[in-house]
């Protein structure tokens, strides 16, 4: 396997708020390889968005990010703001869930593309305009020349998401952080956008981290998956293997609680209990209070992320579940 393009080392994001101090991203270690699409899944509030924002240092106060974000030989967390601006939108781009709120409502989309180009390229005047048209064409917006002057509200939801993708791709980034890019769209449009992303990824040679809580989307697009729970990565696996054989009790619960990702029909079993309160996490495994497999060992101390892959392919499968062996048998029963 090649060298990772991005490496998160013990990434932590802590919020100091009025209702207390809590850790939204808790010691995340993660690697991303060139050209790879990595899915980041987990329930609402598990820290997926904060993880992406932490990579680009877009977390707002009172959030504080620590650890290391290794990107092309540098630690992004120790760059100066002006250096960081080169990375943002230049080397690493991010797209958001809701294009209606992420695009500025009072600026024509042409201008919103142009300002990114001005920041990251030498283009100006007509060349800049041409490039903007080209980008809109690239993401499949009809009659792009005429649409440059239009405002976000004059586009449909799917077209707006395409505009946002066009902006993100403006300066040929090497990494795209996509935070639920299709959640706000209906299923057919969702499909189109995902296909578009995959195609662009291949032509432009990008890597992608795709945040979603839709396992169907993961099955369709991702090569590898990282599962997050209460700010921690609890399982990492190739997508196919994760679906076939989850090795964390939470992942199993997640798979059982949603309609099958292309698999056979089966009854849905929601995960019992409420999502964790980050301000009052138990000392051991955060999932233990909701887990049918939990034992004293689980609640005693926090289980680390363990490498459970065979010796022939190390670091392929990681899990933070002590009972990962017991799962396979139980998994078959419920599935």
């Amino acid at each position: 396997m090649s060298e990772p393009i991005l490496k998160l080392n013990n990434l932590c994001t802590v919020f100091h708020t009025a209702r207390g101090r809590f850790t939204a991203v808790d010691g995340v270690n993660l690697e991303l390889f060139p050209g790879e699409v990595l899915g980041l899944v987990g329930e609402s509030g598990s820290g997926k968005s904060v993880t992406l924002r932490s990579i680009l240092r877009l977390v707002r106060p009172p959030g504080r990010v620590s650890g290391e974000v290794r990107w092309r030989g540098r630690n992004l967390l120790s760059l100066s703001e002006p250096q960081m601006r080169q990375v943002r939108g230049g080397e690493i781009s991010m797209i958001f869930q809701e294009p209606m709120t992420a695009l500025n409502p009072v600026l024509p989309v042409g201008e919103q593309i142009a300002e990114t180009l001005r920041e990251h390229t030498e283009l100006s005047g007509n060349a800049l305009r041409q490039r903007a048209i080209e980008l809109l064409e690239l993401v499949g917006i009809p009659s792009p020349k005429e649409r440059l002057r239009d405002y976000p509200h004059q586009f449909s939801g799917g077209m707006r998401q395409r505009v946002m993708i066009a902006i993100a791709l403006a300066s040929n980034p090497k990494l795209l952080l996509a935070d639920e890019p299709t959640t706000a769209l209906d299923v057919t449009i969702q499909d189109q956008i995902l296909k578009l992303l995959l195609r662009l990824k291949d032509t432009l040679g990008m890597s992608v981290i795709l945040v979603t809580h839709d396992l169907g989307v993961v099955a369709q697009t991702c090569e590898r998956v990282a599962v997050m729970y209460a700010g921690r990565i609890v399982e990492v696996a190739p997508a196919a293997e994760l679906f076939a054989q989850p090795r964390h009790a939470y992942t199993l619960g997640l798979l059982n609680s949603v309609p099958g990702a292309g698999s056979t029909r089966r009854p849905l079993i929601p995960i019992p209990g409420a999502p964790p309160d980050l301000t009052a996490l138990p000392p051991g495994c955060s999932f233990a209070p909701r887990c049918a497999f939990a034992t004293d060992e689980c609640t005693a101390q926090r289980p680390p992320l363990m490498d459970i892959s065979g010796p022939e392919s190390p670091a392929v499968r990681l899990t933070a579940c002590i009972h990962h062996d017991a799962l396979s048998a139980a998994g078959e029963v419920t599935r």
């Binding site: 877009l58 080169q86 230049g90 958001f96 709120t101 600026l107 990251h120």
Partner: protein, 313 residues
């Protein structure tokens, strides 16, 4: 429907409003206590003199006829003659209006020039001493009447320190700016306070918007994000507020002109009210109404420029 037809509709909507203003003005001038003839002729005028004067001024006609004449004259640009000064009202107003307009515009510009940067400082330094100081000073300003601020400035910066003249308005444009600085500041201060408060709040709101995060994610410089993405959105509500308050500014000009001895329409207004000079009162009120309507239309135009979504409303 595009944005410009929206603006055209707003212009057309002003016409009936203006007609109502004309009716009100006509009625109000005749409902004021006191009789202009008493004011003109003095307490000891004979019955005969009163009848004669009434006839000359057309005040013996039935009210509807008076109103018809009033309307007809108005659309011919004839606002009648001043009862007391015996000159055409149009001429009086044209003579004095430029000073008042200059003062009002100056005050509006000063208000915006104060409010916009300070609102940014206050919003970006929310809950720090800078924010508290800015808000405190403006809050104090809001709680004091215009003439009081004017008098204080006049005493301190004019009479005591002699930095500024204490009356008049000069001859050249530069002198106007210098002479009218204190009056304009006095007049504009309340507006600056209102705008600052509103703009600070909308900046704080806009800063929370996701498009600000997206702009940062694009690698834009903070100055560009604030000056373009944040300001443009924050100004949308403030521009409307600004327009609505210009009317109050014109009203405030009356007092300011009195305090600073500036020969604008404000003084004319005060004099004509005391003298029951109906034609002047009517002419001035209509001119004010017309100006305010123009400002409203202008506000709508700017609003439509700033916010491309207005056509949807």
């Amino acid at each position: 429907m595009n944005r410009w037809s929206y603006v055209l509709i707003r212009v057309l909507q002003v016409i009936p409003t203006f007609f109502v203003v004309m009716v009100l003005v006509f009625a109000a001038a005749r409902l004021l206590p006191g009789d202009p003839l008493t004011a003109i002729l003095g307490e000891r005028a004979t019955e005969e003199m009163v009848v004669k004067a009434k006839h000359e001024l057309g005040l013996d006609q039935p009210l509807p006829v008076q109103f018809w004449i009033f309307l007809k004259d108005f659309f011919q640009g004839n606002l009648g003659d001043s009862i007391n000064l015996k000159v055409p009202v149009t001429r009086l107003i044209l003579e004095r209006m430029p000073v008042t307009l200059f003062l009002t515009l100056y005050a509006a510009v000063l208000a915006a020039a104060l409010a916009i940067p300070l609102a940014f400082v206050a919003a970006l330094r929310k809950d720090t001493w800078a924010d508290n100081l800015i808000r405190g000073v403006f809050q104090l300003g809001l709680s004091m009447p215009v003439f009081y601020i004017g008098l204080q400035l006049l005493t301190l910066l004019g009479a005591r320190l002699r930095w500024f003249p204490v009356g008049g308005y000069g001859n050249t444009f530069g002198e106007h700016l210098y002479y009218l600085f204190l009056p304009a500041l006095t007049l504009g201060f309340n507006l600056a306070a209102i705008l600052m408060r509103n703009l600070r709040a909308s900046i704080l709101e806009v800063l929370q918007a996701e498009y600000v995060d997206f702009a940062r994610a694009k690698g834009l410089r903070p100055s560009l994000i604030l000056g373009k993405h944040v300001l443009r959105n924050a100004l949308i509500s403030t521009v409307t507020l600004f327009g609505l308050n210009i009317g109050g500014l014109i009203g405030g000009a009356v007092i300011t002109e009195t305090v600073f001895a500036i020969p604008g329409v404000g003084r004319l207004m005060v004099d004509s009210i005391f003298g029951r000079d109906y034609p002047v009162i009517q002419g001035l009120t209509l001119t004010f109404a017309l100006l305010v309507s123009l400002v409203f239309i202008l506000t709508d135009v700017i609003h439509a420029q700033l916010d491309p979504r207005v056509e949807a409303a």
